[in-house]
């Protein structure tokens, strides 16, 4: 059966995910070492050890994401996170920074290493380079690839692949995007945040709802209509007319959609994908439990060769549209 890798932003979410049928749970420490560095989220050292014990007792595994890029002069914080994840009994750490990966491989030779999506290894050569250089055992593939490309990659590499199937959707190559720091000074790579809530202001102006990020108007909707969270790459912008093209106003990068690749699970399985990943460490434990239950049913159906259960997640995506993203070539 394909492995289901589920998010946990809190110990309660970790327990909920395990109880709902997650094979694996991923989480991070409560600091800048992980890419969901949000207030009130993530694990203290004792919580991590307890979480690992809880999962292990129920046959599940814990991965620790240490997937930001260490700040120059302060690498010790990241080195300590790797050592503490190892000490807590994590099944593996998920890393993105080559310097940190080199450190982990040298210092903790028995620690299993996964390559984070933030490392943006988007072709077999890049993946093989990481595997050969550091003994990486699994790569989380960037969300810029089609199913056909994933199939081709798996033919050329020996390590496991993990792909995102549900939740937030980055439309840029992940780990290589500075849109957020351009607008707010804070970025996923440096600070573990994207379009951070600390820089968001919602307002009502002249009968319309506005959402701003760092003072920049990102969404404007009629009064009464919901105004989406102002994530930069899903904002509404205008490209003024040029000599060769008319003005365009709209979601020029991506609509405010989320990823749902449920229908592609059988194809991903045939493509040789080992694990399916659900985004959402910032989500509530109730949400996590619901999504995990639905996807556990889906991977069991895929294993049995049965059709994907339809409408499992209708409630969770209600009012918000979903896309299969780059996995379908037409997205490009």
């Amino acid at each position: 059966m394909m492995e289901l890798v589920c998010p946990a932003g809190t110990p309660a979410a970790l327990r909920a995910a395990v109880d709902a049928g997650a094979h694996t749970v991923y989480c991070g420490f409560a600091d800048e070492t992980n890419a969901r560095n949000f207030p009130g989220l993530n694990f203290s050292r004792p919580e991590m050890a307890e979480g690992v014990a809880y999962a292990k007792a129920r046959g599940a595994r814990v991965l620790v994401a240490i997937n930001t890029f260490p700040r120059a002069g302060e690498q010790a914080l990241w080195h300590r996170a790797v050592a503490d994840a190892h000490g807590a009994g994590a099944h593996a750490v998920i890393l993105a920074d080559p310097g940190l990966i080199a450190h982990a491989a040298d210092t903790h030779p028995d620690l299993r290493l996964h390559l984070s999506v933030q490392a943006a290894a988007a072709n077999p050569d890049a993946i093989n380079f990481y595997a050969e250089s550091f003994g990486i055992r699994r790569v989380v593939l960037p969300r810029v690839l089609t199913v056909e490309e994933i199939t081709a990659i798996n033919r050329e590499i020996d390590i496991e692949t993990e792909v995102f199937v549900f939740g937030g959707l980055c439309v840029m190559a992940e780990g290589r995007c500075s849109l957020s720091s351009w607008a707010t000074g804070l970025s996923p790579n440096m600070n573990g945040v994207c379009s951070p809530a600390s820089h968001v202001v919602y307002d009502e102006v002249a009968g319309q709802n506005e959402a701003r990020l760092g003072g920049l108007l990102i969404h404007r909707t009629p009064k009464g209509a919901p105004v989406p969270y102002p994530t930069l790459c899903k904002g509404c912008f205008t490209a003024p007319a040029t000599d060769t093209g008319p003005a365009q106003t709209g979601h020029i990068f991506e609509d405010p959609v989320s990823l749902d690749a449920t229908e592609l699970i059988p194809r991903l399985q045939r493509a040789g994908v080992t694990a399916l990943k659900i985004e959402g460490r910032q989500r509530s434990r109730a949400y996590v439990a619901q999504v995990v239950r639905a996807f556990r049913a889906a991977v069991e159906a895929a294993e049995a060769g049965a059709p994907m259960p339809a409408g499992l997640l209708a409630k969770l995506t209600e009012g918000q549209s979903a896309t299969t993203g780059a996995y379908a070539k037409t997205w490009r």
Binding site: A72, P98, F129, L145, L179, A183, N189, T244, T330
Partner: protein
């Protein structure tokens, strides 16, 4: 400090490319990185200019390196990347995966789209043979200073993004084509219509980003014109200037004065603004502020 000219980000005609490098040969730039950085579909239209440009630049005493693509996914792109290392010139990697093709023991350079955020990664690259690294534009001065120190110890020259629209993101999808309701595979090369990229504004008319094929740039031109003394003191060895369609020779001369610290920060900014009338200039990244923060 001296000057490195980065690869052209935009899709220019072969003729424009030829004139651009002819002008650069006569400029005070120390070194030039040339090659298709953004989209492999553009390369057939101008690749025949590369040997001539290399010859003209080398004859003028410039160090020349070849750039890889910033995002390598297709088989054809992988082959092109491997071929670059056979060309007999130094290679600047723009995607870390390009290191897979690096012949054993061959030195290389690292461009600003590779994530070098800390001394651990810098030292690892140095062990692999890196001799020169242009740091990611979003790094603040405090990090630049630490990395310049580590670079000196490891024998790696450190460059900083000195001028030009900063590369902020790259995607598997072409947003330039999407603006014309086309997909990447049927783009009809619309990015060639916009020699400095296509502007993107917020809904209330504030200039924000510039779309350049699969790449997204900041709209304001990032400049270190007011911060050169800090960079020199930090031990930065070169400023990288990113090519733009108009007025580039004048910019190179001005930044050369800055690099040699022949001009005050105030004068440098005033002359820069005069060379680019109406352009917005930004310098937030080095100050650990939003990158688009206006100069002044």
């Amino acid at each position: 400090m001296d000057l490195t000219i980065g690869p052209v980000a935009f899709f220019w005609t072969a003729e424009t490319v030829r004139g651009f490098y002819r002008d650069l040969a006569a400029s005070p730039a120390r070194r030039v990185v040339i090659g298709e950085w953004v989209c492999s579909k553009r390369l057939p239209f101008w690749q025949d200019e590369i040997p001539g440009a290399v010859e003209v630049l080398s004859a003028a005493g410039k160090e020349v390196a070849l750039s890889t693509l910033a995002l390598v996914t297709l088989r054809r792109e992988r082959r092109q990347t491997a071929d670059l290392f056979e060309a007999g010139l130094p290679v600047e990697i723009a995607d870390l995966g390009a290191l897979r093709y690096l012949p054993e023991g061959v030195p290389f350079q690292v461009g600003p789209t590779v994530n070098v955020y800390n001394e651990g990664t810098l030292e690892w690259l140095a062990r692999k043979g890196a001799t020169r690294v242009c740091l990611p534009p979003e790094l603040p001065l405090a990090s630049v200073a630490v990395l310049a120190r580590a670079g000196r110890a490891a024998g790696v020259a450190i460059e900083v993004w000195g001028h030009g629209r900063a590369p902020l993101a790259i995607s598997g999808r072409c947003y330039h084509a999407r603006l014309h309701d086309r997909a990447k595979d049927s783009c009809q090369f619309v990015c060639g219509d916009d020699p400095d990229g296509r502007d993107v504004e917020t809904l209330d008319g504030r200039a924000f980003l510039t779309v350049n094929g699969v790449q997204t740039l900041g709209h304001a031109h990032t400049t270190v014109a007011g911060q050169v003394a800090d960079l020199a003191e930090a031990g930065v060895s070169a400023l990288r200037l990113s090519p733009q369609a108009s007025g580039f020779p004048g910019l190179v001369r001005l930044y050369d004065k800055m690099a040699r610290q022949d001009i005050t920060a105030g004068d440098a900014l005033a002359r820069l603004q005069a060379l680019m009338p109406g352009a917005s200039l930004a310098n937030g990244f080095l100050a650990a502020a939003p990158g688009l923060r206006p100069v002044g």
